[in-house]
Amino acid sequence: MKLEILHELNAERAGRRPVILVTDTESGEQRLVKAKDFARDPLRTELEKQLRMGRSASVEAGGKKLFLNVYAPTAKLVIVGAVHISQALAPLARSLGYDVTVVDPRTAFASPERFPDIPLIAEWPDTALPPLNVDAYTAFVAVTHDPKIDDPALLHAFERNCFYIGALGSRKTHAKRGDRLRAQGAKESDIARIHAPIGLPIGAVSPSEIAVAIMAEITAALRLPPKEKEEAA
């Protein structure tokens, strides 16, 4: 691998921009393709498919054996609400490879004793969220049950096009939340993106079980192609 390619690859990864390294495994020739350039690439179908699956693979194209090495950004999980569920959710998400941050302005909740080793921000969402660079590789959950905290957080998540947005609360609670968010200018399509009640329906009761249900739903959102995603929901 040429040093220029390695340098560019590391820069793209640091900037959380997805890239695929295409290697001719016979000649050793390589090129780096940025996701924004996929559309005009001769391999676009393969590139798009592999990026969506987050999976590297060998393909044959134009009589060449090519290896597509996918470098998707590390997924992030932003948890708004330093509640009991979050205490189970944060370490579970981390074991699945997510960079986890917990946000809650209530210092009694957002304490290092309750969240050992997890980055914690004891600020309101308006202050805490912008520096986190929430992006399309971020899963976002709002679990405080307090509209003053959850609502502005959700509005931020809509703006940043998170790949998953979930919020705690029954259908009834969620209907009220929809009304409030609409009143604050949220689009119908944004509100429809919220997974609520949060998590796959697996009969979860304890905070740890709810954490499993949430992470299962986030995994499906990250990995399944759009059609299968609808069927799983």
Binding site: L6, A14, T23, S56, A57, N69, T74, G97
Partner: protein, 107 residues
């Protein structure tokens, strides 16, 4: 996903810039119950220090040895390890899978 490949690639760049000979080994194909998916990588320097994994420990020793040659020659090579391959059996890929590993020099 617990491994952070970016740290591995960062190390590759840092080692290279510090004047070390560096090779990168990447799993490019797997069959059967291979321990690490395609794209998993191992970076090796000319002191034999390595980071990452291509098999979870089964064949790393052999890959490091091959990587030393690649650092010397500059020519990439493809390695294959599997249960049908006696060499691979000797180095211990006993988990039932087959993997192909592409080894290339960095820089």
């Amino acid at each position: 996903m617990l491994d952070r490949d970016e740290d591995i690639l960062k190390a590759a760049e840092d080692w290279q810039k510090a004047g070390r000979g560096v090779a990168l080994a990447t799993v490019v194909e797997t069959w059967g119950s291979a321990p690490r998916p395609a794209g998993s990588s191992l970076v090796i320097n000319d002191e034999g220090t390595f980071l990452g994994s291509v098999s979870g420990g089964c064949v790393e020793g052999a890959v490091v040895t091959e990587a030393m040659d690649v650092i010397q020659s500059g020519k990439p090579r493809m390695l294959e390890f599997g249960v049908a391959d006696e060499t691979a059996w000797n180095v211990g890929l006993s988990c039932g899978g087959t993997i192909r590993v592409f080894v290339e020099k960095v820089g």
